[in-house]
């Protein structure tokens, strides 16, 4: 996703001088081409995220389209008030690009894990969260952000994620059906965890279960409500590489509560606790109950209970 972001933004920035890439001194090697080709549109703001965010807001107020890049915790928690006041309150079209969503930075530890960002960021006004699951949805997200003129939060993994979408980025919608499945409920996810869900779906297929597989790259309440209305009495499992406290699954629940949805929603995500263990991305996902096996087992047991009622 990260490389797709860098390449696509460079393509667009060649044609549009208002596009700026601002980094908080991160992205070693990722932006070499951008920096070399468009030095006037590249700013390294140093290790000063608060000032970087307000500065980006000032640039956006002056007609530029800044994309502010850093490891997910830094352009969010470190400068939350700058985002709230100078970006969102002023409705300046700054795009925050957060890499390392969830547990991607594995052994680097909790300081580098972005597991509460959706909760915090989605409470802010005027801003839309984009959380693609692969490079195709990343390109879709960038294009859609630039169609509008409002604050955006682009939540990316790192690099090398498998491509899930077989369709073109221009065919993707805010709620993106990956597999329309059978009559076995839905699994909805946001972000890079989609690949684990796909592996889980293969395991479920061996067990005779074919849920509808839905990626949700744009946290758009209206589009989510439409999905729920099309599946009003179904079982839904939500999966996110993020804390269960207030994240993606919570959003789905909030939307469902106000609608005629009468099925059941079960959320899978990271428990709200500090993981004291160090480990790789894979290891931490497994510890959090987000391995393909854990996802498939949870889905199977929950849908069975749902059917018994």
């Amino acid at each position: 996703m990260r490389n797709a972001f860098a390449a696509h933004l460079l393509n667009l920035a060649r044609k549009d001088q208002s596009i700026l890439l601002i980094t908080g001194d991160l992205g070693f090697g990722v932006f070499d081409d951008f920096q070399k080709e468009l030095p006037a549109q590249f700013i390294n703001a140093g290790v000063a995220e608060q000032t970087m965010m307000s500065m980006a807001a000032g640039l956006a107020a002056s007609g530029y389209r800044p994309f502010v890049y850093s490891i997910a915790n830094f352009p969010t928690f470190r400068c939350l008030e700058q985002i709230r006041n100078d970006v969102c309150y002023m409705d300046n079209p700054v795009t925050i690009v957060a890499v390392g969503a969830g547990l991607v930075y594995g052994v680097h530890g909790y300081s580098h894990h972005a597991v509460e960002d959706i909760t915090i960021i989605r409470s802010l006004p005027n801003l839309t969260i984009y959380s693609p699951c692969d490079s195709v949805e990343t390109i879709f997200s960038i294009d859609k952000i630039l169609e509008g003129k409002h604050p955006a939060y682009l939540r990316l993994g790192k690099g090398g994620e498998p491509i899930i979408n077989e369709k073109s980025h221009s065919d993707i919608k805010d709620v993106n059906i990956i597999d329309s499945g059978g009559e076995d409920g839905l699994i909805c996810w946001t972000g890079g965890i989609g690949f684990k869900v796909l592996q889980a779906a293969k395991l479920l297929k061996q067990r005779g279960l074919c849920p509808k597989l839905v990626s949700i790259p744009v946290l758009n309440s209206q589009a989510i409500e439409e999905l729920l209305l099309l599946n009003p009495d179904q079982f839904i499992l939500t999966v996110e590489e993020h804390s269960l406290a207030g994240g993606f699954g919570s959003l789905i629940l909030e939307v469902a509560t106000g609608s005629i949805f009468s099925g059941r929603i079960v959320r899978l995500g990271i428990p709200q606790r500090i993981n004291k263990e160090i480990g790789s991305h894979e290891y931490l996902l497994e510890k959090s109950g987000l391995s393909p096996t854990a996802i498939s087992e949870r889905f199977e047991s929950e849908i069975m209970q749902f059917r018994l009622k």
Binding site: A40, I43, A45, G46, A48, Q50, T51, M52, M53, S54, M55, A56, A57, G58, L59, A60, A61, S62, G63, Y64, E81, Q82, N85, D86, Y89, M90
Partner: protein, 276 residues
């Protein structure tokens, strides 16, 4: 409360008249609203009056045009002072000023940008104006514009780390179009700046960050006009001021950071201003 003011606009060459009228309005507004920061407003009104009287290329007519100069009041709690100046210069209406802090108004106790002209940035949380202004100054450089950005800050605001992050970045980007004016009244929320978080040697700090620095009398319009000229570097004007300036019982008192004048105090304050 406002009936004895004729509401006429102040001309470009009348910064002293503007400042006097703005003080009167700010006192009346904070009295009527029963909401304060009057001391902070009286402290900064001379700075704002000079900026809006021709030093900065900004008027209701060129608002939002690309060649305007930008003024950001980063000490957003001095909203009454700014709104008084904006009203007297015709950016906002006399009615807007009278609606200050009223239910349904766009004009609250901290500066907001909603629906009106003259405010570039909503402020109220300190340490936002300089980095935001830095972004605008950088954009002007990128567009090869000659316009300037004036950021008016409080001295207590310089406790915020973003001020010094921005000070580093402004010299990095050679922003000679960025001018900071610090309302140096030496009082912050609870007590003096020096007994809270000492700023001195204050000018030396800005010099060490490779800014040009001028220390002046922040109530002298002549000094302010002389100081606010183009520099080869980012410019910091340390404007020595008196919190509550112009009203004897408000001067140098932390109390009037919080307390609005009651009717009796308002009358004394107005008579003092009119006598001077």
């Amino acid at each position: 409360m406002f009936e004895n003011l004729d509401g006429k606009l102040i001309n470009d060459d009348g910064s002293e008249a503007l400042a006097l009228a703005a003080r009167i309005w700010a006192l009346k507004m904070t009295n009527a609203a029963n909401s304060s920061h009057i001391g902070s407003s009286l402290s900064v009104i001379d700075i704002l009056s000079v900026l809006y009287s021709g030093v900065a290329h900004i008027s209701p007519n060129n608002w939002k045009t690309p060649d305007r100069d930008v003024i950001i009041l980063s000490k957003g709690h001095a909203a009454a002072g700014l709104y008084a100046v904006l009203g007297l210069k015709g950016f906002i209406s006399m009615q807007d000023m009278q609606d200050y802090c009223k239910d349904g108004s766009n004009f609250g106790g901290h500066v907001t940008h909603h629906g009106k002209i003259g405010v570039e940035l909503s402020t109220g949380s300190l340490g936002h104006g300089l980095p935001y202004g830095l972004g605008i100054a950088l954009s002007l450089k990128m567009k090869q514009s000659d316009s300037k950005v004036y950021v008016v800050m409080s001295d207590g605001e310089c406790d915020e780390g973003t001020v010094w992050e921005s000070a580093l970045l402004a010299q990095q980007y050679s922003l000679d179009n960025l001018i900071v004016i610090i309302d140096r009244n030496r009082l912050q929320s609870l007590t003096s700046t020096e007994s809270t978080v000492a700023l001195e040697p204050f000018a030396d700090k800005w010099l060490a960050f490779n800014w040009d620095v001028l220390t002046i009398d922040g109530h002298s319009h002549e000094d302010l006009r002389k100081a606010l000229v183009k520099s080869d570097k980012p410019l910091c004007v340390i404007a020595n001021t008196v919190k509550g300036k112009g009203v004897s019982f408000m001067e140098n008192s932390v109390l009037w950071h919080y307390r609005p004048p009651n009717l009796e105090e308002l009358e004394v304050a107005l008579s003092e201003l009119e006598a001077n």
